[in-house]
């Protein structure tokens, strides 16, 4: 049986409920801050990350993921 891979999803939140915009998803690999923001920094207030799930809908694969940033 193929082992399911952990994946990460990133959303941009403009400060209003119900309007999260999907920006990135895939394997947990290092990525730059600029590409994630889609060049629309002014439109959003928060960057939201989830593991093994999207839009607060989670799959049945338990995981814990830490996000760190380096300049």
């Amino acid at each position: 049986m193929k082992k399911r891979q952990m994946y990460v999803c990133g959303h941009l939140w403009p400060g209003r409920a119900g309007t999260m915009v999907h920006t990135v998803s895939g394997r947990p690999e290092a990525t730059g801050g600029g590409p994630i923001l889609l060049g629309q920094r002014a439109r959003f207030t928060h960057l939201v990350f989830s593991v093994n799930g999207i839009h607060e809908l989670y799959i049945r694969l338990a995981a814990k993921m830490e996000v760190k940033k380096t300049p």
């Binding site: 400060g15 990525t31 960057l47 940033k69 380096t70």
Partner: protein, 292 residues
């Protein structure tokens, strides 16, 4: 005390009259009785299985007036009768019972005050629904000033008793108007997510358990509202100063943790995990994000 169960057929139900519902119990026992009654049938998981008590003096037949709001006309009644002995008999209106209830309430208050002082728990308030379903007196909806909370604070709702079906968070304006900001499960959530950019419009958050606008459902529950971010800072504060001695090494200074996302593996919506909420101002275009 042995219970003498009266079959349901012996209980005659009469449809609601005015604001009361009458149950006519034909008891064959003429002694001092303690009668307990409840409605039979399937119950929701959140509903309590408690019996209500009624004391009968020496009258073999009794009419019990029950508020119509407590009655489901589609359900039968279950009644059981105890023989009240003199030793165990206490009228609910006797001073001794009142004093005992007052002392118990005081103990509960002391216990909640002690928990506030426990390190690692920044308990902001405790929301209570006592299950009576009464307007205003059916519970308490604590208010927390928004000046005490920042948008990044993570609020957690820790159930203490009963079944918490949902929590309602109101925003209260400076003129006293309440607006519903959140209605849903008791999963952790950020203050910024609740306020949705309307911080300036409100002065307080008001938390209600199984009810809203001081109208409570007949579903008793109690939960603590905990500022998890403040609790984490409190516990991390001592550790960081002792580890680094106030001086951060260059390697640690360059890397900054943004948070931890969790998936519990239950597959449940919202409550199945936690998200990382990062203000965009913290992420520069040249920053590199690492997921571990």
């Amino acid at each position: 005390m042995p219970a003498n169960i009266i079959p349901t057929a012996a209980v005659r139900s009469i449809p609601p009259v005015d604001d009361a519902f009458l149950v006519n119990v034909a008891s064959t026992q003429g002694a001092m009785l303690e009668l307990e009654y409840r409605q039979a049938g399937p119950k929701w998981a959140s509903e309590t299985d408690q019996w209500d008590t009624h004391l009968i003096s020496s009258n073999p037949a009794v009419n019990i007036a029950i508020p119509a709001q407590k009655v489901d006309i589609h359900k039968d009644w279950e009644v059981r009768v105890h023989t009240a002995t003199n030793a165990g008999f206490r009228s609910p209106w006797s001073p001794a019972v009142k004093v005992a209830a007052r002392e118990k309430a005081k103990e509960n208050t002391d216990a909640s005050t002690d928990k506030k002082d426990t390190p690692g728990h920044a308990v902001l308030a405790t929301a209570v629904n006592n299950g009576s379903g009464k307007y205003k007196t059916g519970g308490s909806s604590p208010a927390v000033a928004l000046s005490e909370l920042s948008d990044d604070d993570l609020l957690q709702f820790l159930p203490k008793a009963g079944s918490c079906s949902y929590v309602i968070i109101h925003g209260r304006t400076s003129r006293g108007v309440w607006t519903i900001l959140h209605r849903g499960g008791i999963s952790p959530m950020r203050v910024g997510m609740i306020l949705t950019g309307r911080r300036n419009a409100f002065t307080h958050h008001i938390f209600s358990a199984n009810g809203e606008h001081e109208r409570y459902q007949r579903r008793a529950c109690t939960f603590d509202i905990v500022n998890q971010t403040a609790a984490d800072k409190k516990s991390d504060g001592g550790a960081s100063t002792s580890d680094n001695g106030g001086v951060s090494s260059p390697a640690q200074g360059t890397e900054k943790g943004l948070g931890e996302a969790v998936n519990h593996g239950t597959g449940l919506r919202k409550s199945g995990g936690t998200l990382i909420w990062t203000p965009i101002s913290e992420v520069k275009d040249n920053d590199k994000l690492h997921f571990t």
